[in-house]
């Protein structure tokens, strides 16, 4: 019983090198000389996020909110949309900030972000997704795991659609691919197609 063919990559976004792509179209391209924090600020303005909580978040969550906002804008998705995200560096970007503060005053507002799955919580809050969540750590983008696991939760009825992807942040270098997977669309949800979306503009 292969139901996999019923699932499609309904939409996808890519964030890399000061650019944001929707499917394969550039929707935002910023000056490559700006630093990472400026990129996060400028993207927020240019994409008219209008979500003040964004400014309190750590950088990994900001990337997740930027990506999911572009991904889900105008999409018809259900509250039962699971989140299946992965990366290599966990929350080390903010872990390092927490660690540097340990000699003096530790901030709970920083510490709370020192788990990779907090970005799942932030996306769930913004889109009121009371759904299955998981964060996997992988040494590199692994389409096999994302497709295999997303399929198990879709086929078992634990979710109706899935946002899956890769959200890596290390030394201010970021690399994001998010996909909305559902019954609607033209691109079959396969490892090859997911891999292709990741490789695009990523050579």
């Amino acid at each position: 019983m292969d139901r996999a063919k019923n699932h499609f990559i309904t939409n996808s976004i890519r964030i890399k090198n000061e650019e944001i792509f929707l499917k394969k179209d550039t929707i935002l391209s910023l000056d490559s000389k700006i630093d990472f924090s400026q990129f996060l600020k400028d993207s927020y303005k240019k994409l008219a996020l209008n979500y003040p909580k964004y400014h309190k978040m750590d950088s990994l969550c900001k990337l997740g909110i930027l990506g999911s906002t572009v991904l889900l804008r105008g999409q018809d998705f259900k509250a039962n949309t699971a989140l299946v995200l992965s990366n290599a560096s966990s929350s080390h970007d903010v872990d390092i900030k927490h660690m540097q503060s340990m000699e003096s005053i530790v901030s709970p507002a920083v510490f709370v972000y020192t788990l990779p799955n907090i970005v799942l919580g932030e996306i769930s809050i913004k889109y009121k997704l009371q759904s299955e969540n998981v964060f996997f750590i992988e040494d590199k983008f692994n389409a096999d795991l994302l497709v295999d696991y997303s399929e198990t939760i879709l086929n078992s009825g634990k979710a109706l659609s899935v946002v899956c992807g890769w959200i890596e942040l290390k030394n201010d270098q970021y690399d994001v691919l998010l996909c909305l997977v559902s019954n609607n669309g033209e691109i079959p949800f396969t490892k090859e197609n997911l891999e292709e979306l990741y490789r695009f503009e990523n050579e």
Binding site: H98, P108, N117, G121, L129, Q130, D148
Partner: protein, 379 residues
């Protein structure tokens, strides 16, 4: 397809095997002790910390303790123990690793180890290569539900036909990183933690490793199956539990539904019970909404402290043994009920016929997990 919870081990301050841990629990011994630490105005804090030299002694049977971090030693020993008792083909046995922070303190001061040893990928690779697992390890890092979610993920993949056997290994340390963070939250208890009690004032941290074989191969005798499981995000707050217990309630409903069971068929409930004011209250609300207030319930945090990414696996293993042994273990340090809804807290060791249990967990990021364990006899 029946997914069975088979060989298991807990490595903790209470012992280096599941039986040693159970013996300590039955004797009412806690792993929580006062440890000196200059971060604290009163000179220290209560935590469950594993004796490093005792660990190294135990580890020396399988390897050179100087080559591995404390957490690696714990998780390698746990994996070894499960492998010892099984003839598993490592070319097709999955390895699923669960941890929240792994060797995080190496990120700052890596001492004898390279800094990249701090990454969970490195931790997984050490375990994979030590034993020669051929499949790429799956690493789950989903806050305090990680250890249980990893078991649920093993079940889901086995049901989907990805593999037949998975070893789930979980571990976390009482790191300076985590201690300083929870201290900044003012979430640490001044005494050994008192889950669900009126005078509870926060968590105690603990460290441990655990491992379990999840398999679809039936054994003769008593089998414990993972019947249903569900995880639901609160979509409410990243660090505060939902006041309505929404995500936990929904997780329980979904897990019951998958199991085709009703709340009245649950004989025992193993709660998360961290002993923070808000967590325990949230659980009481969710359990009452799910009509579970009459079910005997305990928290194991009084024995271990909060072992983060290991806790839900340790407690799943203990729940499994409660079912096998028909035993209810007391919720250590419980005094007077201090939540707004009724709960049937287990206050003393009790022998009782048990068939079905519910294990729950909740964590930062708004995550919640419910798992239904059921006993069957294969004669």
């Amino acid at each position: 397809m029946n997914i069975l919870l088979q060989e298991d081990i807990i490595i903790s301050p209470l012992g280096f095997s599941t039986s040693e841990n159970l013996k300590a629990i039955k004797a009412g011994n806690s792993g929580l002790q006062f440890h000196e630490n200059s971060r604290f105005p009163n000179g220290g804090f209560y935590a469950g910390i594993l004796d490093a030299s005792l660990l190294a002694d135990n580890f020396s049977v399988i390897g050179d303790s100087t080559k591995f971090t404390k957490l690696e030693q714990m998780m390698l020993l746990a994996t070894q123990s499960v492998l010892n008792n099984n003839e598993l083909d490592l070319s097709e046995t999955a390895l699923i690793i669960s941890s929240t922070k792994g060797n995080i303190d190496l990120l700052g001061n890596s001492k004898n180890f390279s800094k990249d040893r701090a990454s969970l990928n490195s931790l997984a690779r050490v375990i994979q290569e030590f034993f020669g697992f051929k499949l790429k390890p799956i690493i789950v890092s989903n806050a305090c539900i990680s250890g249980g979610l990893a078991v649920a993920i093993a079940k889901r993949f086995i049901q989907a036909g990805k593999f037949n056997n998975a070893i789930v290994v979980a571990g976390d340390l009482v790191s300076d990183f985590v201690t300083s963070g929870f201290q900044s939250f003012q979430a640490l208890s001044a005494t050994p933690c008192k889950p669900f009690s009126k005078n509870r004032d926060g968590i105690s941290l603990g460290e441990a490793a655990a491992a379990i074989l999840v398999s679809n191969n039936k054994r003769e005798g008593t089998n414990i199956s993972l019947f249903g499981d569900a995880s639901t995000n609160d979509a409410n707050h990243i660090s505060a539990p939902s006041r309505t217990g929404e995500g936990l309630y929904k997780s329980i409903q979904q897990a019951l539904k998958e199991s085709k069971l009703s709340a009245s068929e649950i004989d025992y409930l193993s709660a998360h019970g961290t002993a923070t004011i808000f967590n325990d209250e949230m659980e009481a609300v969710a359990f009452n909404r799910a009509a579970l207030f009459h079910v005997p319930v305990n928290s194991f945090k009084g024995f271990y402290g909060h072992t983060l990414g290991a806790s839900a696996l340790i407690e799943t293993i203990l729940t499994k043994h409660s079912l096998i042994n028909n035993e209810l273990y007391p919720s250590l340090n419980f005094e007077e009920l201090g939540v707004s809804k009724p709960l049937n807290i287990v206050q003393k060791f009790e022998k009782k016929e048990l068939k079905t249990a519910l294990k729950t967990a909740s964590g930062f990021g708004g995550c919640n997990l419910a798992m239904i364990l059921k006993k069957s006899f294969n004669g």
